[in-house]
Symmetry: C2
Subunit: 236 residues, 2 copies
Amino acid sequence: MNSRRASPHQAGKEPAASTSPWRASRERRREVKREAVIRAAARAFNRKGYHNTSLDDIAATLEVTKPTVYYYVSNKEQLLFQCFLAGVEQIRAAFREVKDLEAPARERLNAVLRHYGEAVASEFGWCMVRAEDQDLSPAMSRHIKALKSEIDQGIRRLIREGVQDGSIERCDPKMTAFALAGALNWIAHWYRESQSLTGAEIAEAFVTIFEGGLRPRSASQVATRAPLRRRVRIAR
Amino acid sequence: MNSRRASPHQAGKEPAASTSPWRASRERRREVKREAVIRAAARAFNRKGYHNTSLDDIAATLEVTKPTVYYYVSNKEQLLFQCFLAGVEQIRAAFREVKDLEAPARERLNAVLRHYGEAVASEFGWCMVRAEDQDLSPAMSRHIKALKSEIDQGIRRLIREGVQDGSIERCDPKMTAFALAGALNWIAHWYRESQSLTGAEIAEAFVTIFEGGLRPRSASQVATRAPLRRRVRIAR
């Protein structure tokens, strides 16, 4: 799997543990197919928009019938949500990975922002940043808002921690979090996979730019540590 | 007029000069009404989306008939374009204003970004950042893309000038321009006029955040000059 691709598998629940290898294999095959449905949907939504994409279109791409698609997701809204979750889950996983690290908060924040940027540059980026605009049911909108808010609060918390531990210049955590997330979210509007840089390279370039603003100015001459990237790998 | 409001008047051509005060007055009244149509459209698009808004809705808001609306704009696409232009014109005006100033490029860039932020936080913000996604005619899409590209290139140019004159830390001008514009564009997604900060205050907060990253690190102890804001005023 391309390193820029998240597994939609991460977005759903793990298949229930089974003692039968035959059954486990069936479950794995089902999961692989479910991932293919979500990935095909993400690409179609990205290319044609949510309202212009039908489950028939997605079925045709996968060379299956519409009932086969329904076997994996109950409706188009659920499909959009699974695409949203596949992207967002990469950021949530990054937060979990850095949670107990002893590194300064700026390095932990950078690791999260790097995964955030990669997720937005992936095929799930459009769904991550545009899902909320698609006339979804109130329950679904609330769910998406809650997950976005969790990420926003997580970024603000890391900024506050960084200001406290001296690794981040004093700033307004709320506005800074909005500026960082906005710059990253906007990648979904301009980035195309055909461009010369990979999603990972774009994310790295953005983290370098952010670093310039976040790093305390008095510490500019202090030698920087090796990027946290080499130490934190999100399991895929 | 509220200082956060751009005049849609700026977006169109000036009425032809006239020697008759009666005629000039008629032209001014027409322009005021045209502005009201554009502002009402911007608010409706923002609230309900472009495709969910009809010219009937806009006419109803203004308590006029649909033919009256057609007297000012030829169709809904043109209306969206005028809303787009009303926002974008504020940024273009800022570029023109700073063009011949002797100030360091970072200060000129800050002045442009301040007006950019205010425009995105205005009622034209939604149209500025979302017009391109609305299935417009190829000619209209090209026109919008060209204006966006002009602004992008203008920001990159100021960044390059800043790196050259020493007022901006060395950076990748293209990626930095994308990060700055992305952070500002995203304001249209989260800012509501009901919030505690005005658009001007949001724009100022963002420029302060950007400053932290743009300012050369070796110059951090140098006393900063008075913000350019007080010297540059965009005529409205």
